[in-house]
């Protein structure tokens, strides 16, 4: 590798824009779903006697989590009806928000609408006494493992901007999502499975903004998330179409390998051509391995019940949560589960009816996931993150619904080095603005990355000459959340 190539590269930047050197093509031609981790690439460089970077990985820190399961409540769950009780709202039911509260824009223009208090009953749970509403009886039993963050805020007031920002840090399209950054910085531990997996509880739904929410933005596409579904073809195009059996496929691949080999001999040393040959072999191996990873048949009935697979209301989300555990067990780095895909949490009307259903669908599966991870000793190394793209307003919409609230909302984390049994931050008396220990999306991302052993300020991807960071040069790790 030439010194020259690395001179323009900021120290600590693990990647250069153009395919110029060996490390670079290894990145892009990782062949598998899992690119080689940067660590491996640098080790390769060091082994090759490269004098430029040795094995420095300035973005690596001693992390506590190996994997992340991000449970995305798409549409925006109401914080004031779940984890952030606001007795003040009862006193002011039907009144407008007082003028002392900072005015905000909401998408349906509901700032001046009357206050709608929560109809939920809240109680304190566990040793820690965290408040949870009666919509979430199962999660309530796990609060001693959970760090509730009541003071999140974001910028996008609409779904597409909000979901995009919760994934990429920016409400505008074009940046890599958090999963891509993690994949880029840490690679994956199982080359035969995608390192970053995305699942939707409704396969026909579209997440607001579409698949670009798990896109790699300006990074090479190999860092993007891969949609997985249950069933015999969990990954698109994984299996050949009906009528092409294994033997026929093998015969084609053998012929292809032969022709490619002859071609390679005419262009010796073209490593990209070689990588492409290997990518076909890998595709063939994955065809055998991936279906096993997503096959739930070997899970015991007790485990299946734990996730609610035995009840129609919880079966779908239960499957995805159980799949998430299986994937994490097999070394997948970042798993994202969309609960309520297609903005199902978006209760502009009838918050009671809407959230009763959406909470029911995920409460037991999510609690089951936490319990199962803990029982298997995986919770220590798996960070579970729960939340939506924003929360909901204390003001009513159409009498019985709630508008979007990006100004203050709740998320939670469990496992992976997050401090168990705590509540962080506070919203105002109305649950509208986050006022204490405010966590912007960048702070949330910085904290997740920190737990995974990545310094968000040091992980750099050079794009069009600029050193890009996952938190756009902003964001602070929230120390209160660290165990």
């Amino acid at each position: 590798m030439s010194l020259d190539d690395d001179q323009a590269c900021a120290p600590g930047a693990p990647h250069r824009e153009r395919v110029l050197n060996r490390r670079d093509w290894l990145m892009r031609a990782g062949g598998g779903f899992g690119a080689l981790a940067l660590t491996d690439l640098l080790a390769l460089d060091a082994a090759a006697g490269s004098s430029t970077t040795a094995i420095a990985q300035p973005w690596r820190t001693p992390g506590t989590a190996k994997s992340v399961i991000f449970l995305f409540m798409e549409g925006g769950p109401s914080q004031i009806d779940t984890f952030d009780p606001k007795p003040e709202l009862l006193k002011r039911a039907g009144q407008p928000i007082p003028p002392t509260v900072k005015r905000v824009i909401t998408p349906m223009g509901e700032f001046y609408s009357p206050i709608l208090p929560s109809r939920r009953r809240f109680a304190q749970h566990g040793q820690c006494g965290t408040w949870v509403s009666d919509w979430l009886p199962h999660i309530a039993k796990r609060v001693d493992d959970i760090a509730v963050i009541r003071s999140c805020f974001t910028n996008g007031i609409n779904h597409v901007g909000g979901v995009c920002q919760m994934n990429t840090g920016s409400p505008l399209a074009g940046r890599p999502c958090l999963g891509s950054w993690v994949h880029y910085g840490l690679g994956t531990e199982n080359q035969n499975l995608p390192g970053y997996v995305v699942m939707l509880d409704n396969p026909r739904a579209t997440v607001a903004g579409g698949p670009r929410n798990w896109g790699a933005g300006f990074m090479p596409a190999l860092h993007q998330g891969t949609r997985i579904q249950g069933g015999p073809e969990p990954i698109a195009n994984l299996a050949p179409p009906r009528g092409i059996d294994r033997d026929r496929q093998r015969a084609k691949l053998d012929l292809l390998a032969d022709l490619n080999q002859r071609h390679l001999e005419s262009l010796p040393g073209e490593s990209e051509l070689d990588a492409r040959i290997k990518s076909y072999e890998l595709a063939f191996r994955m065809q055998a391995e991936a279906p096993e990873a997503v096959d739930l048949a070997n899970e015991s009935p007790a485990t299946q019940r734990l996730y609610g697979l035995d009840q129609p209301a919880t079966e779908t989300t239960g499957r995805l949560c159980l799949l998430a555990r299986r994937l994490v067990e097999r070394g997948v780095r970042f798993v994202q589960v969309y609960c309520g895909a297609g903005s199902r949490w978006d209760a502009h009307t009838d918050i009671e009816g809407n959230h009763t259903k959406t909470c029911l669908a995920m409460d037991q599966p999510v609690a089951g996931l936490l319990a199962d991870l803990k029982a298997r000793g995986l919770l220590e190394s798996t960070l579970v993150v729960w939340g939506g793209e924003f929360g909901r307003t204390p003001m009513s919409e159409k009498g019985n619904g709630r508008d979007h609230n990006p100004y203050g909302f709740t998320m939670w984390m469990a496992g992976g080095g997050a401090k168990p049994g705590i509540v962080v931050g506070r919203t105002d008396d109305f649950g509208l603005h986050a006022v204490e220990n405010r966590l912007h999306v960048h702070d949330i991302h910085a904290t997740i990355l920190h737990l995974m052993g990545v310094d968000h300020a040091k992980l750099i991807y050079r794009h069009q000459g600029r050193p890009e960071r996952p938190t756009q040069n902003e964001g602070q790790v929230c120390r209160d959340i660290l165990a």
Binding site: A10, A251, L255
Partner: protein, 840 residues
């Protein structure tokens, strides 16, 4: 004889005879590399933690505009000089530093609006304790930086790309060298390249064979492979100008605009949908795509091409073609239900500023949106000076595309239709009226009061900005009107539908028009003020170029009472000799698309974080050549592709390869032609071409990717890319894409191997071979010719015959179905092969 041996024979003396090319020094590096210079880590710490902190918390009172207490904190010199209370810091001694005391609220309390976060105080203390590293500390560059804000001068920061384009001549090479490589004699491009190569003790590769050349050239200039007949015609063409004639034929082909138009569409982040939730399609967007293809095919001069897109309406308001061209300003995303209207308008203008800055100037202007650029001499003010050129734009969705001469006839015809349908339309309006009123009130109520107030104002009373915001907000009301049918009560709906049916019977009376385009015109002769957001006493920023090139506002004259003339003024400057960037950036892009890598590898970043040019003299020569040749791109294409450098082989002998790789592993000096993977569109188009299915009709409204049209004519939907194109790294249209990022992934293998689309192409190819060649052995030849443009080698033929044998039925070697299947499999394998997806 290997080329290296050849070089040794020529003797080292020749090499020293070649004058060294002076590479312009990168700004400030000479100074910064002195022994006392702070370490890179310290500087990084400063840029990451200290400069942003100072900028955010201190500059407003102690910066360029205000110096409270005589203190200025935006350069180390002024910090050390300090203010009325003395020096602000003593490097290495935080305990003696006033600044540290002040932020600790230890005596002085700064900033007065509230104490900094503990982390920030800690960082500041650490920075002082470690000696207060500042880039280019104490250097001329630092002093220049301090004065840049007050009065930028072109010498302040010697960034190579901002220097005037040098008038260079192609180097004179020693006759002995030219005798050794006679092919490199005549094209000036080659003289530059050969000289640099020899300076690095590299030698060029021999010319590639004819089949390789025609395949490389045809893909490069048209995005498609050559036919077998074209290959053999070229192979047997013994005329000395056979290659040049081939170049001319391909440059004249209408396919050329389709290929090179796609490069342009990458840069302008072309898409045919809004992005965001609704991701509504833009049914008229294709007109812009066709305009691009037409322009490139016609070899429209680049200065004209870009001016038409930035300011076509100001250039010639009556010209329908230019109404389409300014659609460039309409390519960004749009959110149909964004109630924060001023916020969305800001996003739209920022997007245009960012893309235009990178596209035309090759600078990452976006960095200067929130602060002065940290590495390049771009002030925050410069970002808004550039944005001010676009501040007056008003989007139009209904710009008519009829020639002005036809307007009276169309109007007359429309009057007839209007007369005939007056009653009908009035009746429909009567039915809709209450619903529209309600819908408008409902949509309006969702906006914050300020926006509602604008909507309530009569158009005539609105300021230019209010007219823009009002129009943007009104789109949300119009959206409700467009969907009014859903709001109607059943009886009203039925009546309205019946009336609409009757109305449709009058369609024949309606004038035929050329349709409409997404376009732009200025909101009027006066532009709304452009201000830097967050400034306490905002002052309107006048349109201007980079301060370092010209700090005065650019001269702008309004065009009558319809347009500010700002965009036209920008274009004049872009293509004037005062701007060293655009010609360089454009020449470099052309080079990049031919060789896969620009002379400057970071094609949209000619700043300090971009790469320095590999051949600075050649870049300047080429930029001047582009201007001299009237900005005609085809002339530059011809110049580049007829060079010996372009005609080199990719393969080299193993010993040459090892030697050259040791010196220049990235092939920056072009000692061979780089192998490249086809772009996503090329792969798709080539598969359709090979299978004989390609429908080569040009342009028109986009079609789904399932149709066998060229990829450029298929829908580009921001939120839902075609899986094949996406897998092979096609851009999604969310940002400008100056180059493709080719990856090699298993996903690609799966799409091409198991995807239904690729299998269908293989079956179509097999079907046509079967039809023309029956079931004889010549089928193998036909498959190779169709997919790869060549016959199989004997070894390959034997291997494929074995494959057929293996695949045939053990009981009936002539089983037709099995043989058909094997042929389809062979075709599919060929479409998957490396040879198919790579050009060398």
């Amino acid at each position: 004889m290997g080329v290296f041996e050849q070089m040794r024979k020529l003797g080292a003396g020749l090499l020293t005879a070649v004058a060294a090319v002076s590479i312009p020094a990168r700004g400030g590096e000479g100074e910064a590399s002195r022994a006392s210079a702070p370490s890179a880590a310290e500087l990084r710490f400063f840029e990451q933690h200290i400069r942003p902190l100072l900028a955010e918390k201190c500059y407003s009172c102690h910066g360029p505009s205000k110096q409270k207490g005589g203190l200025r904190l935006d350069s180390l010199e002024s910090i050390l000089k300090g203010g009325e209370s003395g020096p602000a810091i003593v490097p290495g001694k935080p305990g003696d530093s006033l600044l540290v005391e002040a932020v600790r609220y230890d005596g002085l309390e700064m900033p007065p609006t509230g104490q900094l976060a503990p982390r920030a105080i800690e960082n500041l203390t650490r920075w002082v304790a470690r000696g207060a590293a500042w880039p280019g500390r104490g250097s001329a560059a630092d002093r220049a930086h301090a004065t840049l804000k007050a009065k930028p001068t072109p010498t302040a920061a010697p960034l190579w790309s901002l220097q005037p384009i040098q008038a260079v001549e192609p180097p004179d090479l020693d006759p002995a060298i030219l005798d050794a490589w006679p092919a490199w004699r005549s094209n000036p491009v080659d003289r530059f390249l050969l000289k640099t190569m020899l300076e690095h003790r590299l030698a060029p590769a021999p010319e590639a064979d004819r089949r390789t050349l025609i395949r490389r050239l045809t893909f490069d200039l048209t995005g498609l492979p050559p036919t077998a007949a074209e290959i053999s015609a070229f192979q047997s063409d013994t005329a000395p100008d056979a290659y040049e004639r081939l170049v001319d034929r391909l440059l004249a082909s209408p396919r050329h605009g389709e290929r090179w138009g796609r490069h342009w569409l990458d840069l302008v982040r072309y898409a045919e949908s809004d992005g965001y939730r609704q991701d509504a399609t833009r049914p008229d967007a294709w007109r812009y795509r066709d305009y691009v293809v037409r322009s490139l095919n016609a070899d429209k001069p680049y200065d004209r091409f870009l001016t038409e897109q930035l300011a076509g309406d100001e250039l010639d308001p009556g010209n329908p073609e230019l109404r389409i061209a300014v659609g460039y300003l309409r390519l960004g995303p749009y959110e149909y239900n964004q109630r924060n209207v001023p916020g969305q308008w800001t996003d739209i203008l920022n997007d245009i500023t960012d893309v235009t800055g990178e596209l035309a100037l090759g600078l990452s202007m976006g960095c200067a949106r929130c602060h002065d650029h940290k590495f390049d001499p771009i002030l925050q003010k410069d970002y808004y000076r550039l944005q001010a050129f676009f501040a007056a734009i008003q989007p139009r969705d209904d710009a008519p595309l009829d020639l002005p001469a036809l307007a009276p006839r169309i109007a007359a015809r429309r009057a007839v239709w209007e007369q005939a349908t007056r009653e009908l339309r009035a009746e429909i309006a009567r039915i809709e009226a209450p619903y529209r009123k309600r819908a408008a009130a409902m949509a309006t109520s969702k906006f914050p009061p300020e926006t509602q107030a604008i909507l309530a104002k009569p158009e005539a009373d609105r300021s230019p900005l209010e007219r823009q915001l009002g129009a943007l907000a009104y789109r949300q009301i119009a959206f409700e009107f467009d969907h009014i049918a859903g709001a109607l009560k059943p009886p009203d709906r039925a009546r309205r539908e019946a009336l609409l049916k009757t109305l449709a019977r009058f369609q024949a009376l309606e004038p035929k028009t050329a349709g409409q385009a997404l376009s732009v015109a200025d909101v009027g002769p006066a532009a709304p003020p452009t201000v830097i957001p967050g400034t306490r006493s905002p002052k309107a920023i006048e349109p201007g170029v980079l301060s370092i090139l010209d700090s005065a506002p650019l001269e702008v004259s309004a065009l009558g009472n319809r347009s500010t003339g700002r965009r036209l003024a920008l274009c004049k400057w872009l293509f004037s000799s005062r701007n060293p960037l655009t010609a360089r950036v454009t020449a470099n892009r052309l080079w990049q698309y031919h060789f896969g890598r620009g002379l400057v590898a970071t094609a949209s970043d000619f700043g300090r974080l971009g790469e320095a040019p590999s051949h600075p003299a050649l870049l300047d020569w080429l930029a001047r050549e582009l201007v001299t040749r009237g900005w005609r791109q085809k002339a530059i294409h011809r110049l580049i592709v007829t060079s010996a450098a372009y005609r080199q082989a990719s393969e080299r002998t193993e010993s040459d390869l090892a030697d050259a790789r040791a010196i220049d592993p990235a092939n920056r000096f072009l000692w061979r032609f780089p192998v490249r993977r086809l772009d996503a569109e090329e792969i798709r188009d080539a598969a359709l071409f090979a299978s004989g299915e390609l429908d080569s009709r040009m342009g028109g409204p986009s079609v789904p990717a399932s149709k066998p049209r060229r990829s450029i004519n298929t829908w580009v939907i921001r939120n839902a890319q075609d899986p094949l194109l996406e897998a092979f790294d096609a851009p999604s249209g969310s940002g400008t894409a100056p180059n493709r990022e080719p990856t090699t992934t298993a996903t690609q293998a799966l799409v091409l191997l198991n995807g239904a689309w690729s299998i269908a192409r293989a079956e179509a190819l097999a079907g046509s071979i079967e039809q023309n060649h029956g079931s004889g052995p010549e089928r193998i030849d036909a498959a190779f010719l169709a997919a790869l443009g060549r016959l199989p080698q004997p070894g390959e033929r034997a291997r494929v015959q074995a494959f057929f044998k293996e695949r045939s039925s053990p009981f009936d070697p002539h089983d037709r179905a099995r043989l058909q299947q094997a042929l389809a499999d062979l075709c599919h394998v060929l479409l998957n092969s490396n040879e198919f997806v790579y050009v060398d």
